[in-house]
Amino acid sequence: MWSSNRSMSSSLGVERTKKKMNKDKIFKLAKGFRGRAKNCIRIARERVEKALQYSYRDRRNKKRDMRSLWIRRINAGTRLHGVNYGNFMHGLLKENIQLNRKVLSELSMHEPYTFKSLVDISRNAFPGNKNVVVPPRKVAF
């Protein structure tokens, strides 16, 4: 059935080019895949489909992952000063500082003194309910 289609398409010329373009597109997208997935059309087609599905899903996941990474960095940065992330954000909320987590994580990484002042502002606004975090004795700057 498939062979007959092929012979027909080779004589017609229209379907042949359509299939060929599809194949080329797939192999172009399959560059760098492992094993036969970059060479053999049957396997490559499956993997490319999967890859496109993953990339669709991960374009949405990336936003979540980046935010969680920012939160982890801010948490680490504030714990160096004896405040944990939750109390810190609550303090900022009270002071109506609307810096987002991306900027805060950048500050905690590259601008330590600015970040320390932010932590102090937050601590004044919201001293925290319990003694959650003990700051390390030596603050490495």
Partner: protein, 200 residues
């Protein structure tokens, strides 16, 4: 003064793989396990070894500090875990599920207890082996890294919950028993002294 002579046998193991860890911008943190609870200590070590206490944490790069744990044989557990906590492992052959409890493991190799605890708390990914290489555990309080810039790690203060009534009563009873035994011993000693005085 280097303490190399203290463990000539373990020097290879202690300094093993140090070359593989590049980036010596890392700190050397020292944990003292004496009197610490096993799991709570292990979770602190795991956060430090992952590098999660640094604001430059990146998940695809291993940036944790070198952790040295001392006095591994003095780590404590609560409850009946000394006899009841069992480590299982399967050798791969059918029916060969082996086990060993905490007491035997401490007798055999006390560093393995902490190492297992920390390793099982790390995320199971490709960086786990590298992080394992950053962990150095010593049963005693001596280590060959005396010439590095070491930083002691302060454990966060722990709120110990108060004893359950039954445990408290048992403890009180044990205390009273100990006091009675002491009194008996004193009484006997007193009698012995009197007997000696009488004889002499």
């Amino acid at each position: 003064m280097k303490m190399v002579t203290a463990f000539n046998g373990n020097m290879k193991k202690a300094a093993a793989g140090l070359r593989r860890i590049n980036l010596d911008g890392l700190r050397w943190r020292v944990f003292d396990a004496k009197g610490q609870i096993l799991g709570r200590l292990a979770s602190q070590i795991a956060t430090v070894v992952q590098g999660k206490d640094k604001p430059t944490y990146t998940p695809n790069r291993d940036d944790g500090d070198m952790c040295i744990v001392l006095n591994a044989k003095d780590v404590c557990v609560t409850g009946r875990k000394l006899t009841d906590k069992i480590y299982y492992w399967h050798t791969g052959y059918v029916g060969h599920l082996k086990q060993r409890n905490l007491k035997d493991q401490m007798a055999k190799d006390p560093t393995e207890v902490i190492r297992k605890a920390v390793l099982r708390m790390l995320p199971k990914n490709k960086l786990r082996d590298d992080r394992d290489r950053k962990l150095r555990i010593f049963p005693g309080s001596e280590h060959p890294f005396g010439d590095r810039p070491l930083e002691p790690y302060e454990m966060p203060p722990r709120s110990v919950r108060e004893m359950r009534p039954r445990a408290r009563r048992a403890m009180v009873r044990a205390q009273k028993k100990a006091e009675q035994q002491q009194q008996n011993a004193d009484g006997k000693k007193g009698k012995n002294e009197e007997a000696q005085e009488e004889s002499a």
